[in-house]
Amino acid sequence: MVKQLTRKTFKIKDGVWIAFLIILVILPLIPAVAANSFRMHVMILILLFASMAQAWNIISGYCGQVSFGHSVFFGIGAYGAGMAVVKYGDTPWPGILIGLIIAALVAIIISYPCFKLSGHYFAIATFAIVEIFNRGFLVWDWIGGALGLDYPIINEGLKNIMWHNSKTSYYYCALVIFTFIFGVVRWLESHRFGYYMRAIREGQETAESLGVNSTNIKLTAMAISAAMAALCGAFFVQYNLRVDPPMVMSLDTSMKFVLVTILGGSGTLAGPLLGAAVLVPLQEYTRAFWGGLGGGVDLMIFGLLIIIIVVKQPAGIIGIFNYIGKCFFRQKETGERYASHGTP
């Protein structure tokens, strides 16, 4: 007699996320937060980094294809918007759209041959890609070369995605992007595509033997991931008002995608957010308090954190939570659950 187990689509954890989002929406309305420009800045960066990390999480966390090349897509997104505004004097919107498309296409073209390389070699190939784009953009005069693009003074408003005095609107922009990217990943996680991605990560050959077209899935995941990274890049340039190759197309930036996710817990929905929530304040506050030295101290602490995580708990902060949870619930488990159910 087969017991019919229905798996709920809408789980308790979704409720938690929605409650959390509501808090995030209300946050800037609290005077204590809104008044402090620095705190808003930190909040915005947390949302941005979390979004970047989540984009990376799609192809590298869930699908297991570790990429060190995501700064390229981030950069394409930034330059897309930047070019539209600076070179063409337009609103950034068309630039953003073009940036997304180009990022996805570049991702597919680069990955197709690279996916034939197994595991570590793919990651190494992505290192090379970043360097190629970095050098290329430095000498490409049409997009500004080494000088990059500087934003002129423009009218503010949603049309230009530009606000001069308060950070609140930028915050809500970042929140929209955050919600969108996290929503996409949540959806993927619970549908066929997500299961197939994880199966490929756990064992590509095994997945294929169960009918999974791994090439298609990997390319699609890469394209989505790249487009999301580009979206983050577009927001970045609108907020930063400036972009140049070392700022976006560098290994440095690529590592931000990687490390935030790994710290929080790669392959999980909350990981990117947890990683960002730890790293961004660390980075911004050490920079603020230690002035000139600040640029180094945060990286040192960061490096230390990574070493601890990799050695002690590779599953990141989420792994730590799970471990605590397991310890807490251990008393409830009886030995019987694990004993064999013996002879039929």
Binding site: V2, K3, Q4, L5, T6, R7, T9, S190, H191, R192, Y195, Y196, R198, A199, R201, E202, G203, E205, T206, A207, E208, S209, L210, G211, V212, N213, S214, G267, R337, S340, H341, T343, P344
Partner: protein, 255 residues
């Protein structure tokens, strides 16, 4: 009435450099039947499975499944057509739960999620994995991992299920229970090709047994005839084993 063979393996040869792992192997698997594939380690059984399931491209020969030539096709295509195999060296998707493992299989043919969940649940109960379903697949004992291989493959609703040594390490009583599961699957219309070393698990249920030795097919016959085949006894069963089966054979039907 001549039943159309579901699987037609025709003169398949597979080489690794100089080593000939499969040497012009030919046999058929009739729809709805159970075919046993036995032979010493290194005889080429898993290599043959790999050729059929698309992991290897044979050096020569053809493989026809359900009327179509699938020689050299990609593994995922062959799985989609309905020929699915398990792995002798188990490959659990380690960090995913047992349920999610089987779900990956179910998602192949089940169009919507609820259907996939139900199919996965069904296969989990069939393979007695219900107590493990929320555990990480990598944590299972070896027996559980083997059952997981089977549940996952079963979830894809295969026409041809290829099992690679799933009975290794079972006690005789467990084997009997497993045989019942196989018989039920046969009744539900699934054709099976089973590689086994556990004779009491395969001889009672096989309609036909194919024997490989050193890459070559040395026999293809009913279990009764195979047990008495001199060449098979010499290469594989050993004198003691064929003796063990003889009394049972005379007294009662195998199985």
């Amino acid at each position: 009435m001549h039943p159309m063979a579901l699987l037609d393996v025709c003169e398949v040869t597979m080489k690794f450099g100089e080593l000939i792992a499969n040497d012009r192997v030919s046999f058929t698997v009739e729809a709805g039947s159970i075919v046993g594939l036995i032979g010493p380690n290194g005889a080429g059984k898993t290599t043959l499975f790999n050729c059929i399931s698309g992991l290897y491209k044979p050096a020569s020969g053809t493989i026809i499944f359900d009327g179509d030539d699938i020689t050299g096709h990609k593994p995922y295509e062959i799985a989609r057509r309905g020929a699915v195999r398990t792995f002798q060296v188990v490959h659990p998707l380690k960090d995913m739960t047992v349920f999610d493992n089987v779900l990956v299989g179910a998602l192949l043919k089940c169009r919507d999620r609820q259907e996939a969940f139900e199919r996965a649940t069904e296969c989990i109960y069939l393979c007695k994995l219900e107590h493990f379903q929320n555990r990480a697949a990598g944590d299972l004992p070896i027996g559980g991992k083997k059952r997981l291989e089977m549940a996952r493959a079963l979830a894809t609703r295969p026409k041809l299920l290829m099992l690679d040594e799933v009975m290794a390490g079972l006690t005789s009583t467990e084997i009997k229970a497993f045989i019942d599961v196989i018989r039920n699957l046969k009744k539900s219309g699934i054709t099976m090709m089973i590689v086994e070393h556990v004779m009491e698990g395969i001889m009672p249920i096989a309609d036909k047994v194919v024997v490989l030795d050193g890459g070559v097919k040395i026999a293809e016959d009913t279990p009764e005839k195979i047990i008495n085949n001199e060449r098979v006894i010499e290469a594989y069963l050993g004198a003691k084993y064929s003796q063990r089966f003889k009394p049972r054979k005379d007294g009662e039907p195998l199985g």
